[in-house]
Amino acid sequence: MTINTEDRPGAINARPVRHPWRWVAVGVIAIVLAMMVNSFATNPRWDFPFAIQIMQQKSVIQGLWVGTIFGTIGSMVLGVGLGIVIAVMRLSNNPVLRGVAFGYTWFFRAMPRYVLLAILGTGVAFLYPKLSIGLPFGEQIAGLLGIDTSTFTFFSLDWNALSTTIWIGVLGLGLSEAAYMAEIARAGILSVDKGQTEAAQAIGMSPGKTMWRIVLPQAMRVIVPPTGNETIAMVKDTSLLVAIPIITELYFQAYGFGQRSFKIMPGFVAATLWYLIVCSLLMVGQSYLEKYFGRGFGQPSKKAQEKLRKVAADH
């Protein structure tokens, strides 16, 4: 049989499906955008130049660094660390540890952050102006023995002085965050195949090392993306520090500066722009972390491949 090449179908040159409604949507969006830009440019109350000025004020920058950035980092470090501990407790064989972890999560998830911060800042200072660390019931025992009541006190903390510093904000937000991180970490730990634990046990690893070296690094792949979201949410929640009250914080400072200048909107805009900048940077960092903890799953990144080639060449 001979094949007539002219009869065989060649390259496809078809007309694409038309999408008229997409063009309608693009048109509508373009009109809305144009209106927005027009209003930005023509409504003098926006006053973007003044907003940029507010962004550069010393008090605003200080609020950004101390309240917003340090507050976020500090509370997330505390939240992630404590959260993982609580998650491991929650998965423990010991019913007391499990119960404590459950109770902790229950309490701090039910507690609004604003209320918690107010209690820590004002309420605790009212109840316990001075916090002493020492033997349990040390003061009572010393009293009974008739010696100086501070004998069994190792050190004491002036809560009144502490309650006006950022540390109390880090503590409050961190305690609250730990409850959410515990749930995230628990899901991450449970997502790791049981065979991984068995393989680690089979080479004689202790339970602690198995958790730390084998299970947690793999759980991180599941834990990191929601932790990024939590961090970004925390950036915004630092604006609640005013409940303590701590005012060295971005929103309060930007808003306050605008108010004092009788230009409220530029104050809002200044805070918004800073939040947008910080959160954008965090999203970039998050994608790097995801790549790092995703190693060994799917295609390795270019940098990892380069490193692999180097390692291979070493051998």
Partner: protein, 265 residues
């Protein structure tokens, strides 16, 4: 490969019982394995062979009976006739000398082949890193993967992963190797490369207990074949005795089924 049964058995299991939620899976297993011996456990699924293997490595705790490995009672300390449960740390120490390979390989996916192998020696035995690396490279060569130290498990075929898993177990210098259906999850064309490594291991004098359906391996490599069914050992003996000339009806019907499915054996 014939082993001389001198001295004490390496594995001494007596009247081992194990139940899962009231369902008795092991109903009194007695088995001795001598140093250098290769024992293949055969049996239909649900016969308890995998469970028994896991009990030897304490991945399951037994409900009754005793298992000794190299003279050590597993999981308990006998103080004047009273058994005291060992701590997790001590149980981990007992597992050091027992290597195990799993059906699903269970390599650590976040570590390279080399790191998988050095993890145990460095983290458990406290070996020097360079030493452990050098040893790991030797082991990779032994299992035919000299060129793959930097590969992550996801970049390896199933057969390659299982060979890395064997190297990982060998890095701990085990006295005993346990294989839990090491080729069952593999594509047929990859089975041979894993069995070849296991054959070489058997020839080198390693004591091995192997759960497998590979009749060819059982016939050629095993010193003893143990047939289990319904949680008990039905019969055991040399491959010739059990595979060619089974005494029990249950063994015969099992072998008939397996051999018609794998006529190559």
């Amino acid at each position: 490969m014939s082993s001389q049964r001198t001295g004490e058995p390496l594995v001494h299991a007596v009247n081992v019982h194990k139940s899962f939620h009231g369902n008795e899976v092991l109903k009194g297993i007695d088995l001795d394995v001598w140093p250098g011996e290769v024992v293949v456990l055969l049996g239909p699924s649900g016969s308890g062979k995998t469970t028994f293997l896991r009990c030897i490595n304490q991945l399951e705790t037994i409900d009754g009976g005793r298992i000794w490995v190299d003279g050590d009672l597993l999981g308990y300390e006998d103080r004047h006739g009273t058994l005291h449960r060992l701590t997790d740390k001590k149980i981990a120490d007992q597992r050091r000398d027992i290597g195990m390979c799993f059906q699903r390989f269970n390599l650590f996916p976040h570590k390279t082949a080399l790191e998988n192998i050095t993890e145990g020696p460095v983290q458990v035995k406290g070996q020097n890193k360079d030493q452990a690396r050098a040893r790991a490279l030797d082991l990779l060569e032994r299992v035919g993967l000299k060129d793959k130290p930097a590969a992550y498990p996801s970049q390896l075929s199933g057969g390659q992963q299982q060979r890395v898993a064997i190297a990982r177990a060998l890095a701990m210098d085990p006295k005993l190797m346990l294989f839990d259906e090491p080729t069952s999850a593999l594509d047929p064309e990859l089975v041979g490369e894993v069995l070849a490594v296991m054959r070489e291991l058997a020839q080198s004098g390693m004591t091995m207990i192997v759960v497998t359906h590979e009749m060819g391996f059982a016939r050629d490599v095993a010193d003893r074949v143990v047939f289990m069914d319904g949680g008990v050992i039905v019969e055991q003996g040399s491959p010739d005795e059990v595979i060619r000339n089974p005494q029990h009806a249950r063994t015969r019907s099992f072998l008939q089924r397996v051999l018609t499915e794998h006529p190559a054996a």
